[in-house]
C-alpha cells in the first residue's frame, strides 16, 4: 500500500474511530486501527467487538493494500505532525508502515490486516432513513436515563421501535424513564424493535455531523447487529438481547397537581440545590404551593449534614393540591438539561407515586421519575 493523505483529514478520522479501540483487550489486534485503501479513499476502522467504527477519508492511492497499526502510537504521531501532507507506505514483507511527513520519517510495526475482524457492510437499500438533527436530539433526550450498571445489560441499552412512520426511543435505569417519539419521512414496511447500547448511540451522536441531512439505519436480519451509515462513517453495534420493560405501563395517565415552570429557572434552581445536595444524598425537596389567586411558587430546597442548607423559590403556574415531594436532584437536572422548550410541566399525584415531566408545546417527549422517600 502506498497512499498520501492530508494530516487534518487523517487526524479527524483517527479521532472518530479511536473511540472503538479496546486497548486492554486480550486480542492484540483490537488495540490497532485498520488502514486500508478503498475505492480511491482510505478506510480507517476500529472495533472492540461490541462497537465498531469505520471512517473514510480522502486520499491519493498509488498502491492498494491494508495494514493494522497500534492506535495510540499512530494517533499520537499523526497529531504531532506539522506537515500538511502525509505519505503512508507499507512494507508488506515486514508489515511495517512508513509514515513520512515533511522532515519526519517514522516506521511503525503493524499486524497483518487479515487478523482484523471483518466489519459488516450494510445493505443501504434496505435501510431506514433518519434525519440527522432529529435523531441526535432523540438520542440526547433518552440516553442519560439508561443504566450504567453492568449487571443490567438490558437497561444499559435504549429501546428503539419503528412502526410505519412512528419512531420511539426509550431508556430507563429502573428509577426514571425517558421516552421520545418522532415521525419518519418514509414509513417502514416491517416493524423494527431493537435494544441498542446507549454507548453506541452516544458515539453515533458524536460522529454524525450536523452538516449531513440524513443517516441510514440498517438491521440485517438474524445478525444481532445494527449498522448506522453516515456520509463518511459507519458505526456497527451489537444489539442487546432481552426484554425491555413495558414503558407504556409506567407512564401515569392522570395527575392531581399540574405545575408549569420556566425551564431555565427550574434548571438553575436544581443546579444550585445540587451544590448542597451532592454532599448528602442528592435529595432535593420540592414544596409545591399553589397560590390562592396569584399563580404560585415551588420552593426548591436541599440540605446536607455537612454542607448546610439552601432554598430557592421558583414562580410557577400551579393547578391542583399542594404537595411536598423529594427527588434525586441529579435526575431532575439531567432531564431539564435536555428540554428545549421555554416552559416545562411537572405532573404529580402523591409524594410516593411517579412524577411526569413534559416540555410545554412538545408532546413527543415524556420523562417519568420516581420520588425519593425520606426516613
Amino acid at each position: 500500500m502506498k497512499a498520501s493523505v492530508q494530516q487534518q483529514h487523517l487526524a479527524h478520522g483517527l479521532a472518530i474511530v479511536s473511540k472503538a479501540v479496546s486497548p486492554r483487550s486480550t486480542l492484540p489486534v483490537l488495540a490497532n486501527i485498520l488502514i486500508a485503501s478503498d475505492d480511491g479513499r482510505l478506510r480507517l476502522s476500529a472495533t472492540n467487538l461490541e462497537l465498531g467504527i469505520t471512517c473514510w477519508i480522502p486520499a491519493t492511492i498509488e498502491d492498494a493494500g491494508a495494514i493494522t497499526v497500534p492506535a495510540r502510537t499512530f494517533q499520537d504521531l499523526v497529531n504531532t505532525l506539522t506537515g500538511e501532507r502525509i505519505d503512508l507506505t507499507l512494507d508488506p514483507r515486514t508489515q511495517t508502515l512508513n509514515v513520512r511527513s515533511g522532515s519526519s520519517n517514522t516506521d511503525i510495526k503493524g499486524i497483518d490486516a487479515q487478523e482484523f475482524p471483518p466489519i459488516p457492510v450494510p445493505d443501504l437499500s434496505e435501510g431506514v432513513s433518519l434525519n440527522v438533527n432529529d435523531f441526535k436530539e432523540m438520542i440526547q433526550q433518552v440516553v442519560f436515563a439508561a443504566s450504567t450498571d453492568e449487571a443490567r445489560p438490558v437497561l444499559q441499552g435504549v429501546l428503539l421501535n419503528i412502526k410505519e412512520d412512528q419512531i420511539t426511543m426509550a431508556a430507563t435505569d429502573g428509577f426514571r424513564i425517558s421516552v421520545r417519539k418522532g415521525l419518519l419521512s418514509n414509513p417502514v414496511r416491517q416493524e423494527i424493535s431493537v435494544i441498542i447500547p446507549a454507548r453506541a448511540l452516544t458515539e453515533l451522536a458524536r460522529i454524525a455531523t450536523d452538516g449531513e441531512q440524513m443517516l441510514t439505519m440498517n438491521v440485517p436480519p438474524g445478525r444481532g447487529q445494527v449498522i448506522f451509515h453516515v456520509k463518511d462513517a459507519e458505526l456497527v453495534s451489537q444489539l442487546i438481547d432481552g426484554n425491555f420493560p413495558d414503558y407504556r405501563a409506567i407512564i401515569p395517565r392522570s395527575y392531581k397537581t399540574h405545575t408549569v415552570l420556566s425551564t431555565p429557572a427550574f434548571l438553575k434552581a436544581c443546579k444550585q440545590a445540587e451544590i448542597i445536595a451532592r454532599e448528602g444524598n442528592n435529595v432535593v425537596r420540592l414544596n409545591i404551593l399553589p397560590g390562592s389567586d396569584s399563580p404560585g411558587v415551588v420552593e426548591v430546597s436541599a440540605q446536607s449534614e455537612e454542607t448546610g442548607a439552601s432554598q430557592i423559590q421558583v414562580d410557577a403556574n400551579i393547578e391542583g393540591s399542594p404537595l411536598l415531594i423529594a427527588f434525586n436532584v441529579k435526575f431532575l437536572r439531567e432531564v431539564l438539561d435536555v428540554i428545549k422548550t421555554p416552559s416545562v410541566a411537572l405532573e404529580t399525584n402523591q409524594n410516593n407515586t411517579p412524577a411526569t415531566i413534559k416540555p410545554i408545546g412538545d408532546d413527543d417527549f415524556v420523562h417519568v421519575i420516581m420520588p425519593m422517600h425520606l426516613g
Partner: protein, 578 residues
C-alpha cells in the same frame, strides 16, 4: 411394653452420658477436681487418645481415707451442702456426679492421701462395682486412673472421633486450662510424649507461646479492663490475624471454660469492621465476677452459664476488646522486606502481610496494655485519626497517592470510599434514611432457605432505606432502595445481602445491621478503574480524614499503606538500615 424402673447400672450409664461424652470430658472433670483441691501441679497422662488410659495426678488436699468410696458415689460432694449454696458456687465442681459417672463406664482407680494422714488409700471400681479397697503409699494428693473408658458402653465407643481428633481435643482442653490457671503447673503426656508443660510462674504469654508458637504469642494483644465488679482479662489477635471459624475464641468465666454465643458475639462485634466478613479472631478471655452474678448450674457438663446481667457482661467484654484493638491499630506499614521482595507469591495477600508486620512492629514498641479503667461509662473510643494529607494524584485508576507529615500514603480508592460511606451511613442511624423508589417494583425469587433468612431480616433492611416485602412463597418484592444505590440493580443488591446472611447463621442484630450497611456501601463505592478528577480525589481524602477508623474498609481490608519518611530514606540509602 410395660413400664419398668431401670436397673441402677443402666440408669447410671445414662446419667454418665450427660457428663462424660468423650475422653476429653473425663480429663476436664478430673482436672477440675484437682483445681478444686487446691493443687499447684497437675499431671495428666493419656494413652491411646484416652481410650486406654487417662491418669490425673495432683498435689491437692487429698481425700480422707474413709471417704474414698463416698467420692465415687452418685451425688456425693464435699463442695455443696444446702440448696442455697448453689447460688454462690466458688468451686468448679458441685454436682457430685463426675467420679460416679466415670466409674460406671470404666475401670477407675482412685488413690489419695489427705494432708495430715500417714497413709493413703486406694480403691478400684469397675463398671460401678467396688472391686478393691486397700491401704496405699503415696505423697499428699490424689491420683485418678481411668482405664478402658466406655468398655461397657459400645455405642459410646462407636461415636468417638478418630484418635487424632480425640487427642487434639484433650490437648486443646488442657492448654486452655493451663492458660486460665497460669499459676499452676500443668504437664500433659500423650502416649509417653510430653505435649504441654507450663511452668506455673503466672506468665500467661509463656503459656500462649506453648499453645500458638512464639510468633503469634508475641503478637497477641493483651486485654485488661475492670468495671466495678466485673474483670476482663486475656489476649486477642491483632487485626491482621484471623481464622475462618470461631473455634479459637475461648472464654473462661470465674475459672470455668464456658461456651456462650453471646460472649463470642460481643467479642466479634468489638472487631466490628476491622475483620473481613467471615473471618474470626483468636481470643482467650477470662471474665471474673462474684459467684452470685452467674448461674453455673445450667448444664450437666457445666459448659454453659447464665449471667444475672448478661448485657453488662457483654458490654464489658466488648469495651475491653475495643480498647485493646484501638490501642494497637497502626496503618499497615510497608516494611523494607516486603518492599524489596516480591511478596504475595505465597498466596498471602501482601496487604495482610504488611498489616501483620505492622502489628508486630507495634508490639515491640508498645507491650504495655492500656491502664485500668476506673470510670466505666460512657464508652469513649479513642479516634484513630489520620494526619492531614496532601493529595498528589491517582495511580492506575485505583489508588490515590498522598503525602502526610510522616511520609507517603497509598490509598485504595474503593476501600476508602467504602469506609467513608459506611461511617456516613452509621452517623445517620436513627435519622431519616433517604431512599429511592423504583419505577416498577421488582420481584425476586430465592431458594427456600435464603428466603427464610431474608424474611427474618426484612425489618433491618427496611430500617436502612430498603422497602422489601414478602410476596408469598419464596418471592419478595423490592419497592425502594437506599438513595446511595439508585442507579444500581436492586435485585443484585438484595441477593448479595442474603448471601451475607447465609455466611453466618447466628449473628447478633447489631452485627447484621453493620453487615447490611457494609454491603450497601460496597456496591455504592467508586470502583477500581474509575478515573477520579482532582476534586474527587481531594474530596475522598478529606472525607477519609474525618472517619473514625480510616485505616480499614468496613470489611476489614486496609484502605491505605503508609511509607514512612524513615523507610524512604533507608531505601534510598540516605540512612543506614537498622
Amino acid at each position: 411394653m410395660p413400664i419398668r424402673i431401670l436397673a441402677e447400672e443402666v440408669a447410671s450409664q445414662i446419667a454418665a452420658g450427660e457428663v462424660v461424652e468423650r475422653p476429653a470430658s473425663v480429663v476436664k472433670e478430673l482436672m477440675e477436681n484437682s483445681l478444686d483441691a487446691g493443687a499447684r501441679r497437675i499431671e495428666i497422662r493419656i494413652a491411646n487418645a484416652g481410650k486406654a488410659l487417662i491418669e490425673v495426678t495432683d498435689d491437692g488436699c487429698g481425700i480422707p481415707a474413709g471417704e474414698l468410696t463416698l467420692a465415687v458415689a452418685r451425688h456425693a460432694t464435699s463442695k455443696l451442702s444446702a440448696a442455697e449454696d448453689l447460688f454462690r458456687i466458688a468451686t468448679l465442681g458441685f454436682r457430685g456426679e463426675a467420679l460416679a459417672s466415670i466409674a460406671s463406664v470404666s475401670r477407675l482407680t482412685l488413690i489419695s492421701r489427705e494432708q495430715n494422714a500417714e497413709m493413703g488409700r486406694k480403691i478400684v471400681v469397675e463398671g460401678g462395682k467396688l472391686i478393691a479397697n486397700d491401704a496405699a503409699g503415696l505423697p499428699v494428693g490424689t491420683l485418678v486412673r481411668v482405664e478402658n473408658l466406655f468398655f461397657n458402653v459400645p455405642a459410646r465407643l462407636k461415636f468417638l472421633k478418630s484418635d487424632l481428633t480425640e487427642k487434639n481435643q484433650i490437648t486443646q482442653l488442657v492448654s486452655r486450662y493451663a492458660l486460665a490457671y497460669p499459676q499452676i503447673r500443668f504437664r500433659l503426656m500423650q502416649d509417653e510424649r510430653e505435649v504441654l508443660l507450663s511452668h506455673g510462674k503466672n506468665n500467661r504469654r509463656e503459656v500462649l507461646a506453648q499453645i500458638y508458637g512464639n510468633d503469634l504469642a508475641r503478637q497477641m494483644l493483651e486485654v485488661e479492663l475492670e468495671d466495678e465488679d466485673i474483670r476482663v482479662r486475656g489476649f486477642i489477635s491483632p487485626v491482621g490475624i484471623s481464622r475462618s471459624n470461631r473455634r479459637e475464641i475461648v472464654f473462661f468465666v470465674n475459672g470455668r471454660w464456658v461456651q456462650d454465643a453471646g460472649l463470642s458475639t460481643a467479642l466479634i462485634q468489638a472487631y466490628h469492621t476491622l475483620l473481613m466478613v467471615g473471618r474470626y479472631p483468636i481470643a482467650s478471655i477470662f471474665v471474673e465476677m462474684s459467684p452470685e452474678m452467674v448461674d453455673v448450674n445450667v448444664h450437666p457438663a457445666k459448659a454453659e452459664v447464665r449471667f444475672r446481667d448478661a448485657d453488662r457482661v457483654f458490654r464489658a467484654v466488648q469495651r475491653a476488646v475495643k480498647r485493646a484493638l484501638l490501642a494497637y491499630s497502626p496503618a499497615p506499614q510497608l516494611s523494607s522486606s516486603t518492599w524489596l521482595s516480591r511478596s504475595g507469591e505465597a498466596g498471602v495477600d501482601p496487604a495482610w502481610e504488611m498489616a501483620y508486620e505492622a502489628n508486630l512492629a507495634q508490639m515491640e514498641v508498645a507491650p504495655e496494655p492500656a491502664g485500668k479503667e476506673t470510670v466505666p461509662q460512657p464508652v469513649q473510643l479513642p479516634v484513630d485519626s489520620l494526619p492531614l494529607l496532601r493529595v498528589i494524584g491517582q495511580v492506575g485508576a485505583a489508588y490515590l497517592v498522598a503525602e502526610g507529615p510522616d511520609g507517603l500514603y497509598l490509598i485504595d480508592q474503593h476501600a476508602a470510599h467504602e469506609r467513608v460511606l459506611f461511617e456516613k451511613f452509621m452517623r445517620e442511624a436513627g435519622k431519616e434514611i433517604p431512599s429511592q423508589a423504583l419505577l416498577h417494583p421488582q420481584t425476586i425469587e430465592l431458594p427456600p432457605q435464603a428466603a427464610e433468612l431474608l424474611q427474618t431480616q426484612l425489618a433491618v433492611l427496611n430500617r436502612w432505606g430498603f422497602e422489601v416485602e414478602h410476596f408469598g412463597g419464596n418471592t419478595f418484592r423490592v419497592r425502594r432502595v437506599p438513595a446511595i444505590l439508585s442507579g444500581l440493580d436492586p435485585l443484585i443488591i438484595v441477593r448479595s445481602l442474603v448471601e451475607d446472611f447465609e455466611e453466618d447463621e447466628t449473628p447478633l442484630q447489631a452485627e447484621i445491621e453493620a453487615r447490611v450497611i457494609a454491603r450497601v456501601c460496597k456496591r455504592a463505592a467508586v470502583k477500581a478503574g474509575q478515573i477520579l478528577s482532582a476534586e474527587e480525589q481531594n474530596a475522598l481524602v478529606r472525607d477519609l480524614e474525618r472517619c473514625q477508623s480510616p485505616r480499614t474498609c468496613p470489611h476489614g481490608r486496609p484502605t491505605m499503606i503508609h511509607l514512612s519518611v524513615d523507610l524512604l530514606e533507608r531505601q534510598f540509602g540516605r540512612r543506614g538500615s537498622r
